[in-house]
Amino acid sequence: MCDHTFVAITFGPCDSCTLNKPLMNIYLQNEPVNYCSLCVEMMACQGLTQGENLASLKAESEGLKLRLEEERAKLHDVELHQAAEKVEPLGQLVTKARRSLKGHGNKVLCTDWCRDKRRLVSSSQVTEHAVTMPCTWVMACAYAPSGCAIACGGLDNKCSVYPLSLDKNENLSAKKKSVAMHTNYLSACSFTNSDMQILTSSGDGTCALWDVESGQLLQSFHGHSADVLSLDLAPSETGNTFVSGGCDKKANVWDMRSGQNIQSFETHESDINSVKYYPSGDAFATGSDDATCRLYDLRADREVAIYSKESIIFGASSVDFSISGRLLFAGYNDYTINVWDVLKGTRVSILFGHENRVSTVRVSPDGTAFCSGSWDHTLRVRTGRYLSLSDTHTHTHTHTHSLT
């Protein structure tokens, strides 16, 4: 369980740019200095080489961008839905609403499932624990892998970790530990494979990796030119990377250890609200204000599918895959959830029921259900199954036991 004491993180004026930011303690010519992570990166790029100036660099940059496009186009031999022509199409989705969780005093902004148990944490209330945040809007929340703690944050620019306890009388707010500190709102957070590290994304345009115990900044990720709205970690088997999406319309893939931006994708026409890895880790999906969801394959290094319809004009706020990756659930600002066939690119279902924007959609870790949270103050948990086209009977969910 979390220790109650914590070491203050170094947050203050950078010795180089003088802005107040999380600081890295480094040595320059044997002198200890405090530089913000951006200045540390900039230092590596100083020192002009022969004949280099702004104009020559700009030309080189344009040339490289063109080359990147050409290289990607060379391998674009087929569309995903063409390759998937022989796959049996899905029939009708039958869903059953299992739980409708009311009780939020406000809009539900985010949810997370607990890994092993069937618990949900959502923006200001956990089904078995209630934690009151001192700030108005909690925008991000996450369950620790052990299930013993939750992390949340929002307009307070911080990510705090609350240890969970079965004692209902315990004041959990008192045990809270501030772990991350950004210079703008916290948009998303996620524990890495252990309870010991947290990855955060922020309106300040950066993502950062923090040590929970000490609150220290371990690595920071610079590359977005506007607010970062969402992040997702690669499934553990595929290594230490994560993807982030932001208001600069870019989705970036990062190496967690080096802080390097490995790949970048810019095909959306508006803010990317949500990013989610495909279960195998070879691709990821995005949901955007441009009313489309897109699939990007990491090994082909390009966008391979667009999930859109002329009739869908509202932004997608949240996406998640079913555990086989065949279905993509996407929540939209027109109060609906569209379910897409990932391989064929078609919409297979549209789900109604919410009375306001759907802000978050999450499939449970074992894949048996999905939960949608909305600005209508509810969380709805649904299960479902697809009838294959050859199935001619209508399915009903009745039991034939008699009740006492």
């Binding site: 900039m42 702004l54 660099l57 391998l75 087929v78 739980r99 279960p279 390009r302 391979v304 199954r385």
Partner: protein, 68 residues
Amino acid sequence: MSSNSNLTNMRRSVEQLKLEASVERIKVSQAAAELQQYCLQNGNKDALLVGVPAGSNPFREPRSCVLV
């Protein structure tokens, strides 16, 4: 000062683009085939695709039964 940081920014941008251009890529047809294979291999474990047997659905309402 500002022109210096512009220069540094451009240099960072060029280094970044060089890195991205050098990524090893595979053909879309191969990538698509592997995505498809993953879906088909795991499709029968996907409860939202094939459903779960009625008795084992963890979300169904608990009911008490009596033998009549």
